[in-house]
């Protein structure tokens, strides 16, 4: 392969040709690009290449080490699965945008300096918005606009941080930064926005469900995991991440349980999953970091699988509202099976991929002595089972029969889902290849009696509770009080507390927002008065007045200097 060519660029540059190729050839070409990227990736040796100077700073477009290779690999695998999943469509915009977007994320993973990172960072934002706009309706346009503003905003904050950092240290190397001063804090916030930290997360649930069938699958893979990579690179062992991550794992659980749109449920659960990784990065011990990174790896696959299955339902039925679905296993048996594989993986059933990585993170947290965080994560694990593991397949494919009959998903979708499902099981049964890729040496055995037993206990009790609630009719989709958990206290007390906090929080937020909006409106009126087409600053001024200004300026200059 060509020396020193970053694998991401193969996808980005390759995307240019996409609109010009006819049907079959285009499909082959689309499939070939990620494969080429993969070949290029495996031809690379560890080290820094493709360096160039700009503004007196050294840019490194290709920095190959264990961390970047893990993320690069999974991004390329996903890009490949996504291409298969999207083969049935004939939409050059989406295909090209997905390629550029994937390529930008892969490019970002391999850069070795912050300026190049910024460029790819913005490129992921700009290219991905087209996947949302490709739905071609007003809602998607607006959601995409909001998404774009937030994403580009993250880039601007990143750039500000980078400039400050370069000013302060003279270095733009993208290595461990640590949260030490304003510059790194800005960079941290920029990463946090993309990583959907609590209160910075709304863009995800807002935008992802509005994207196209294929678009959501593509979106779910890259943006947030790129942020996870960036955090793992720059801020490992930053303690605040532990608390941020812990909150991230918990709060989406409640939203996800009461949400009716199943793709939005998945978006919430995505948030929850990111929390596990963020905690792992925050703990920062080799075991925890390995846990976070491997979790990101398998998570991308099973999350994509779940989004794919919901996408297939949306493609065939036209809706993913839990209240309108049900009984689809008769029509789409294969999709149902694949969805359940994804669900089992995300719930960390033994023999599925989630199990071998989530337990790694949990062990890391426990070993480092964060007991409360550990408990929170265990609670959140049960929550995952509830909303992603059971709710998604149950309401879509089982529950009451909605009477919907449709065809099984298209063949290409089934192939993509099948491959993803295979990977989920393969890595669950045989995690050694994954462990071997991780940046730190792993001597961890997931399948010990205690691991398996405790996980099964957790899962079975959560399932039992679900079953009981369904039997007794206590689990309607719109009732928020059905957050099942391992412990009765949590089940009763915490939701109430959270509900109360949410109500108060919402009231405060609404108050602040309303006041802010009023202020903004007043300010806009003022601005329009002065700057608008008829405003004093935009009016055609008479010559006399202009001359007055001239005289005034002259007087000011003379006065300033005489005094």
């Amino acid at each position: 392969m060509i020396a020193d060519l970053p694998p991401g660029l193969i996808l980005i540059l390759g995307a240019i040709l996409v609109p010009f190729l006819p049907g079959r050839l285009r499909q082959l070409y689309l499939l070939a690009l990620p494969v080429l990227g993969g070949l290029q990736l495996y031809g690379l040796e560890h080290g820094s290449f493709a360096q160039t100077q700009i503004f007196g700073y050294q840019l490194t477009l290709l920095r190959v080490d264990a961390l970047s290779v893990v993320f690069g690999t999974i991004f390329l695998i996903t890009a490949f699965l996504n291409v298969i999943y999207g083969l049935h469509q004939r939409d050059a915009v989406q295909e090209a945008a997905a390629l550029v977007y994937s390529g930008a994320a892969i490019g970002a993973v391999f850069v070795g300096d912050l300026i190049s990172l910024f460029v790819f960072w913005e490129l992921t934002a700009i290219s991905s918005v087209f996947l949302i706009w490709a739905s071609r309706n007003e809602r998607a346009y607006r959601a995409g606009m909001r998404y774009l503003i937030i994403q580009v905003g993250s880039g601007v904050i990143l750039l500000a941080g980078v400039i400050l950092h370069a000013q302060a240290t003279g270095s733009i190397a993208f290595d461990r930064l640590g949260l030490t001063n304003l510059a790194t804090a800005l960079i941290f916030i920029a990463f946090g926005i993309k990583c959907a930290f609590p209160f910075l997360h709304n863009w995800m649930q807002d935008a992802y469900p509005e994207a196209t069938v294929v678009g959501t699958v593509v979106l779910s893979a890259f943006t947030t995991k790129l942020a996870i990579y960036a955090l793992a690179r720059a801020f490992p062992g930053t303690e605040i991440l532990i608390y941020i991550g812990a909150i991230m794992t918990v709060f989406p659980v409640f939203f996800a349980v009461i949400e009716n749109d199943l793709r939005r449920v998945l978006a919430f659960s995505l948030n929850n999953q990111l929390g596990f990784m963020v905690v792992g990065i925050g703990v920062g011990t080799p075991v925890a970091l390995n846990g976070a990174i491997s979790h990101a790896f398998v998570h991308i696959i099973y999350k994509a699988l779940l989004f794919m299955s919901m996408g297939a339902v949306l493609h065939r039925v036209g809706t993913v509202k839990a209240s309108e679905l049900g009984g689809l296993f008769r029509s789409m048996p294969l999709t149902a099976v694949f969805c359940m594989v994804g669900a089992a993986s995300i719930s960390a059933f033994p023999l599925f991929s989630g199990f071998v990585t989530k337990s790694l993170t949990l062990t890391g947290v426990a070993e480092a002595g964060y007991v409360i965080t550990w408990l929170v994560l265990v609670f959140a694990s049960a929550g995952v089972l509830e909303h992603s593991g059971i709710k998604i397949p149950y309401f879509a494919f089982f529950a009451h029969d909605s009477g919907l009959r449709c065809r099984e998903a298209p063949a290409n979708m089934l192939i993509a889902m099948g491959l993803a499902a295979f990977l989920c099981i393969f890595l669950g049964v045989y995690p050694e290849p994954l462990y071997a890729m991780l940046p730190y040496q792993v001597d961890y055995e997931p399948y010990t009696t205690s691991h398996v037993l405790s996980q099964l206990q957790l899962l079975f009790f959560a399932m039992l509770a679900f079953a009981v609630l369904i039997r007794t009719g206590l689990y309607p989709a719109e009732r928020p009080s059905t957050n099942l958990n391992t412990d009765w206290i949590y089940r009763k007390a915490l939701p109430a507390l959270v509900r109360w906090a949410m109500t108060v929080g919402a009231a405060v937020r609404d108050g602040v927002l309303a006041r802010g909006r009023r202020r903004l409106e007043r300010a806009l009126v003022q601005i329009t008065r002065h700057h608008g087409p008829e405003g004093i600053l935009a009016r055609t001024v008479t010559t006399g007045n202009t001359v007055l200004w001239v005289a005034l300026l002259l007087a000011v200059m003379l006065l300033l200097n005489f005094v």
Partner: protein, 493 residues
């Protein structure tokens, strides 16, 4: 032989061609002559800059009269660069002018147009090349008078009032400059800039010199549309013919900025201008206000030409800010933006000229759905707009990068933020155009619109292409700008 007379040829060629254009009468012939003259001027400018970069400043004594008494033409890295900008824009715009002028002006005015155009070019080149303060005023008047004519040729009746107001204001500006030059002559007894630079330092406390400085600053400020002396500019740009707007936006204000540079740094010296008189304290706030206020005003404009006119005032703010810093980085940013803004704003106005040719209006409503109907034109506009915003890989980014660096060097946070906020505001007004062109459907029953002819598209894309190319390969622009800045800061050279 000829090489030795390049500085004179630079001026004489377009100057001699101008009356010939009038005599030729036929529009096409006049155009061909003007084209030839402008390309010759470009060749001269390129050769001059090359010579300067290789072997240092060139001094040329006009008519072999020795310097302090005769008129001296003096080319160094600073004005060599500005000469190249002006000549290049002129040479790129003239091929474009033919179709656009044929469409916008009646047949009998064509020869007049090209005459005035060449005179304006001559004036601008002359202002740039001359090393004599009074000669500078003369050339400034040549360029101004001809630009009043050019603006008044606009088809809109309001062009006349706009030109009249510009005439009054421009004349006041020129008068201020001549008063300033006169006062300098009174104090020192010389008009040659180098000579002035030598004789002025001992007179630092002299009131006459100080008043001269104030008059020169305000007079030049008027010509370059320094906020709040900019009121003539929006109307003049909005109602002038498309070609004229493109040409003036890319060159006239830039040359005035150069004049300001020349007086501040060469004639008065950086120490006098910025330490004794601290003119920076006046310029920087005005520049900051210009960036914020005029960008905001631009957002509310519905006439895109007017929108870009206000954006020009804001962009001039960037240059003035860089100059106001009076540091090498700041000056580099200012001079760099001089070039970069000429490329992108010239390209943008030319793209608008294409729209005007096909649609007959440049109001936002008229642009609805044009993204599909005139894809090449609108795409060039989008690229130019991105450059205005300062997106990486465009020239706008490069200028802003240096400007922000210069601000941070002084630990001036607020100004760095002002620059970035200005970019955001630019994003808003550029987006309004993009939204109209790409996201609004074409009005029902709209006439079919073709893409603009190649003779107009190519010049537009040359400028837009330059604003992308120099955003990626900055070695020429940054190199020259840095050398020019070092020269200016280093004192008289």
């Amino acid at each position: 032989m000829i090489a030795a007379h390049l500085p004179a040829l630079q001026i004489v060629l377009p100057l001699a061609a101008a009356p010939l254009c009038l005599l030729l009468r036929r529009g096409t012939l006049a155009w061909a002559l003007a084209l030839a003259a402008s390309w010759a001027a470009l060749v001269c400018a390129a050769l001059l800059l090359r010579q300067v970069l290789i072997s240092g400043p060139i001094s040329y004594e006009l008519g072999s009269w020795a310097a302090p008494w005769g008129i001296e033409y003096r080319v160094d890295a600073v004005n060599g660069f500005v000469l190249l900008i002006v000549a290049a824009v002129g040479a790129v715009i003239l091929p474009y002018a033919r179709t656009s002028v044929a469409h916008e002006l009646p047949e009998e005015q064509h020869a007049t147009f090209y005459t005035a155009f060449l005179l304006c070019l001559t004036g601008l080149l002359g202002v740039t090349i001359t090393g004599d303060a009074f000669n500078l005023f003369v050339f400034l008047e040549i360029s101004s008078l001809s630009s009043y004519v050019l603006i008044a040729l606009g088809r809109d009746r309001r062009a006349l009032t706009a030109a009249f107001q510009y005439l009054v204001m421009g004349t006041i500006g020129a008068t201020f400059i001549v008063i300033g030059v006169g006062l300098l002559y009174m104090a020192t007894g010389t008009l040659n800039m180098m000579d002035l630079a030598e004789r002025l330092p001992p007179l630092a406390g002299n009131r006459t010199v100080l008043v001269a400085f104030a008059f020169l600053t305000v007079g030049t400020g008027l010509k370059l549309a320094l906020f709040p002396l900019h009121f003539w500019l929006p109307n003049a740009y909005a109602y002038a013919p498309s070609v004229v707007t493109g040409f003036l936006a890319a060159t006239a204000t830039k040359v005035s900025v150069y004049v300001l540079l020349r007086f501040f740094f060469t004639v008065f010296g950086v120490g006098y201008s910025f330490e004794v008189l601290s003119v920076g304290k006046l310029l920087i706030p005005l520049a900051a206000i210009a960036i914020l206020v005029c960008s905001t005003v631009a957002i509310f404009q519905n006439d895109v030409k007017r929108m870009l006119a206000y954006s020009s005032i804001a962009q001039i703010g960037y240059m003035i800010m860089g100059i106001g810093f009076a540091t090498t980085t700041g000056l580099t940013a200012g001079i760099l933006h001089l070039f970069n803004h000429a490329m992108m704003k010239g390209g943008l106005f030319l793209a608008l000229g294409c729209v005007f040719l096909r649609v007959g209006s440049v109001r936002l409503e008229a642009l609805h759905g044009l993204g599909k109907r005139m894809p090449l034109t609108m795409f060039s506009f989008v690229l130019g707009g991105l450059s205005l915003v300062g997106v990486p890989l465009t020239v706008g980014f490069i200028s802003k990068w240096y400007l922000v660096q210069a601000a941070l060097e002084r630990d001036d946070w607020i100004l760095a933020v002002v620059v970035l906020v200005g970019s955001l505001l630019a994003l808003v007004y550029v987006w309004r155009v993009v939204e109209a062109a790409y996201f609004k459907p074409a009005p029902e029953g709209a006439a079919k619109v073709e893409e603009a002819p190649l003779s107009m598209l190519i010049p537009t894309w040359v400028l837009i292409g330059a604003s992308i190319y120099f955003g990626i390969d900055t070695s020429l622009t940054v190199g020259v700008a840095r050398q020019a800045a070092a020269q200016l800061i280093g004192g008289a050279s």
